[in-house]
Symmetry: none
Subunit: 210 residues, 2 copies
């Protein structure tokens, strides 16, 4: 289960093949695997074939626009993070995209470093080894009490934040705007062990960048 825990797979959708190839190359150089799609229909197909973690899509495409694609994508992957990019974006487009739950909206031409930053931050925020807990508070759990679901969610947020900040507690304090003493208490109550979390992450991540 943890064999490919940190292996991030991006679905990159763009009808402009040159841009598509360039962005893909850049991401791959930075150790992110990329699945390509040059149309909405292909993208939907790829989405079912691969274990996609993030969708990065152009907003304007000939066949159907990115918003429509995002809606269809969400049908099968309700919580998948989606990053849009577009040139000449109108405000209503951006608003619509964000309402659809877009994680970011980048302007074309996309700055590769920015793209990389966003994709990586998505990884840290949304995924991790946390998929299990997620199920408790996400959708399904009709049978759990409110308190339990809230606790599960709280745990998820804290663990995410810890991972995101490499176990650096001071940063978590700042990001979550919480008192240190309170965070310590919560972690202890929720059974979050900073060291274990980081070890795991380091272990599955024999390659490191920081």
């Amino acid at each position: 289960m943890t064999t490919e825990a940190d292996h991030l797979q991006v679905l990159l959708v763009d009808d402009d093949l040159d841009v598509l190839a360039a962005n893909a190359r850049f991401l791959r150089v930075n150790e992110i695997s990329v699945v390509l799609a040059e149309s909405v229909s292909t993208a939907l197909q790829r989405l079912t074939e691969n274990e996609i973690d993030v969708i990065v899509t152009d907003l304007r495409m000939p066949e159907a626009n990115g918003l429509a694609f995002a809606e269809q994508a969400r049908a099968s992957r309700p919580l998948i993070p989606i990053v849009f990019f577009s040139g000449f974006a109108q405000v209503p487009d951006v608003v619509a995209a964000m309402k659809l739950g877009a994680v970011e909206f980048l302007e074309k031409p996309v700055d590769p470093d920015e793209l990389l930053r966003v994709v990586r931050s998505v990884r840290r925020t949304h995924y991790g080894t946390l998929a299990n807990q997620r199920q408790v508070f996400d959708g399904g759990g009709e049978s759990f009490s409110l308190k339990m679901r809230v606790l599960a969610y709280e745990k998820y947020v804290i663990e995410s934040s810890l991972l995101q900040h490499n176990g650096h507690v001071a940063d978590v304090l700042n990001a979550l705007q919480i008192n240190r003493r309170t965070l310590n208490d919560k972690m202890s109550k929720l059974g979050i062990k900073r060291d274990t979390l980081i070890e795991q992450r380091a272990g599955s991540n024999n390659e490191q960048e920081s």
Copy 2:
């Protein structure tokens, strides 16, 4: 208190007094009560004095911009729906606003009918769709405090349960294993209005879509 159950109160913030007055007049004609503020500090003041349901604010203002205002406003009203408007909005502004949990982002000059529609829809859909709230507690919100994210999640769970049980509070109590008094308090604090929630759901069944 309950005499004005469906009575919607809007806090309208704009440093341009002419626009402010014009919009206020239009909203009032349409049976929406309006509280005015021409600066951020005034707005924060008004927010504490009145029972505001929605904030409609300009993004660009001399004293402090709308985003900063929104952040401060959320300190006292964590989940209050905020509508931004602005001329010359840049994509990053819009993205930032939406990430902050904005309900809508309108372009200046604001079409009065559009404004009315948005304000009313806020009432109708009661602080946005569930999917929208999801965005707050799900991935997007790196910038939200733990407390805020937990509240958003709690709200989402409660609203879901209410809808699922047709507004039958007793069933929700049972499903969520929570004390009635506690649920009532939470609903009031989170701005969940059972009646509105159910009305809207009933309305959307036979009525048009939007």
